[in-house]
Symmetry: C2
Subunit: 359 residues, 2 copies
């Protein structure tokens, strides 16, 4: 079954089911990338390129505007939820239905059916989105084949429950380390307790009032949270080190440098021994004021929402390409055993995208 070619004449919901039944956990995307490449190469209006397990297909019509439709083809590990199952209520269940084979099916359907688009089209199918950032296929293409990603506007077909979600917030992870001196806990006064020294850090976190920021009409909500705290040598030892891991989610009006400076300021009086930036992915502006984005909004309808989580739209933003998230799945069910998508949402998105690219 998994070796059968992909039939792009299926409607987008049936094609979603077909893709879910074609396992492609991160690191094992090659068979699906092969099938996608093979299917796209049968379409004479597209030029197809491949880099690793990433496939890019483009029209070359010389139109005034070029838009990108992008999606990752990997999934998180299957959790007894493959093959897919369509129930009597029009719900398709299975690993990747929301995140994001419903979106990949829409990319493939647009590639197959929009043979005479009103804008030049670039389809990007990439691997390893669900794992460490340095493995991300979109990042690899941006590094090695940046010309493949040229365009005026990008739609990332991550699940948004068929709403446009603009830009994305940045995410910064910092390790805040306090330092003390070990001693036997029976003679605690001979040491200095690094956990007690973390008290002002937790107090600053508990008192922190996150900002709300409106950009292009979208209200972003920041957040500063401890996600881990670790200390302890033995049950009778005053610990000499404590690490509080904080995660700052920030609105797109902050640069990465601004975000780091802000976190430093919040903890400026906390006697931090070491401040380590452990991970950082910048925010993406919604870019809804761009004419291509406005045309997209008009075609798909509804009112745009801010994207709170970090997504690969930030990679487009870093390349200077405004980008939004738009896909049929409900993101609340991503990575869950009961992941599912409403067939009606797939059909709705298919119809709206088709209208955008053809009328």
């Amino acid at each position: 079954m998994t070796d059968a070619p992909l039939d792009l004449s299926l409607d987008a919901a049936a094609l979603t089911a077909r893709l879910v039944d074609f396992p492609s956990e991160s690191g094992n995307e090659k068979p699906l990338a092969d099938a996608i490449e093979q299917a796209l190469r049968t379409l004479p209006h597209l030029e197809v390129d491949r880099y690793g397990n990433n496939v890019v297909a483009r029209t070359r019509l010389g139109l005034a505007e070029r838009v990108i439709l992008a999606g990752h083809i990997d999934t998180v590990p299957i959790a007894d939820n493959v093959p897919s199952r369509l129930d009597d209520n029009g719900i398709l269940w299975g690993c990747g239905t929301t995140d994001m084979k419903g979106g990949v099916a829409l990319q493939l359907r647009m590639a197959a059916t929009v043979t005479r688009p009103n804008r030049d089209l670039t389809f990007v199918f990439y691997d390893n989105e669900e794992v460490a950032a340095h493995l991300n296929g979109l990042g690899h293409i941006a590094d090695a084949r940046p010309d493949w990603l040229e365009g005026d506007f990008a739609v990332l077909l991550e699940g948004t429950y068929a709403e446009v979600e603009g830009g994305c917030q940045g995410t910064l992870r910092v390790l805040l380390r306090t330092s003390g001196e070990r001693a036997h806990s029976a003679r605690g006064w001979m040491g200095s307790n690094a956990i007690h020294k973390a008290a002002p850090i937790l107090a600053a976190l508990a008192a922190y009032e996150p900002k709300r920021t409106v950009i292009d009409g979208l209200e972003y909500r920041e957040g500063l949270n401890a996600v881990r705290v670790e200390a302890g040598v033995a049950n009778n030892v005053i610990p000499d080190a404590c690490t509080v891991t904080v995660n700052f989610r920030y609105a797109p009006d902050r640069s990465q440098a601004d975000a780091i400076a802000h976190v430093r300021e919040v903890f400026a009086d906390c006697d931090i021994a070491e401040f380590v930036v452990d991970d950082h992915s910048g925010a993406a502006m919604p870019g809804l004021s761009h004419p291509a984005a406005a045309a997209f909004m008009e075609a798909v309808g509804g009112s745009p929402k801010p994207k709170f989580g970090w997504t690969d739209v930030a990679r487009f933003s870093a390349l200077g390409i405004p980008a939004v998230n738009y896909g049929p799945g409900d993101p609340i069910f991503a990575h869950k055993r009961d992941e599912h998508v409403e067939v009606a949402k797939i059909h709705h998105c298919e119809e709206r995208l088709h209208a955008w690219l053809t009328t």
Copy 2:
């Protein structure tokens, strides 16, 4: 070598070296218990009993007072520090020199040389002191053969650097758990951060002012410390649970119930979801006002010190027997690779103990 009988005619320092060269890590005390029993059975003035790998020897002279000399025969794991080595400065190096084969050698020397004591004598040699409390041989004797431990006063020959250390502080370990609600850290406002909820706990610890308490002229110093803190689900999840492990070391004027009540009170306003008593060993009063203790102090000289760490004197205290710590080793070097004892301190203690029991 380890099968040779123990020669109790050696001086206490030479006997200490002999005992160090006779490995007896916790759980492997049988050969040494056998050798001790065998050596004691050659002494006609003593009645010898055995329970497991615990050996008890007693005079039966019907004297007005009975004193107990107790010591554990196990050591922590050997760390390339056996066999023992006597250097040119009169320092004996090796595992157990301080903790506490120097003390055990003194017990054996008193058993062999004080054949006509001024007080009835009980010698207790027990196993498994360095491991979990429920394995402790002194506890096993107290449970199964409490009559073997009858007496008016006890000396535990743990290393005190030849000072009398009175009683011991209690040690209480409590887990303080806060509770929140998980959420993705990109939408932190949908959850409740259990680490942030621990802020008042750390603040209370940082602000805590430990009490000093004078009992029988000894100043005890309490301490309340976090020894561990643990929380974290994933780097992008608001954690729903945080555990702060605190260790309360308290003076002998507090009962175990008082100690728990005090810790509850310190954290009363901290919104603790769960308060778990994880481990608890009560304190021991120094008992220096007892006539037998006073006579002991007069014989050994010096001024008594408080014992901050928990020791098995608390087991005697629980049996209603005043007890002190007195031994040649410096406790700072216990459990260390460079563990050692000064031969002069062994000889000093031997002479003082002998004087106490004979004049």
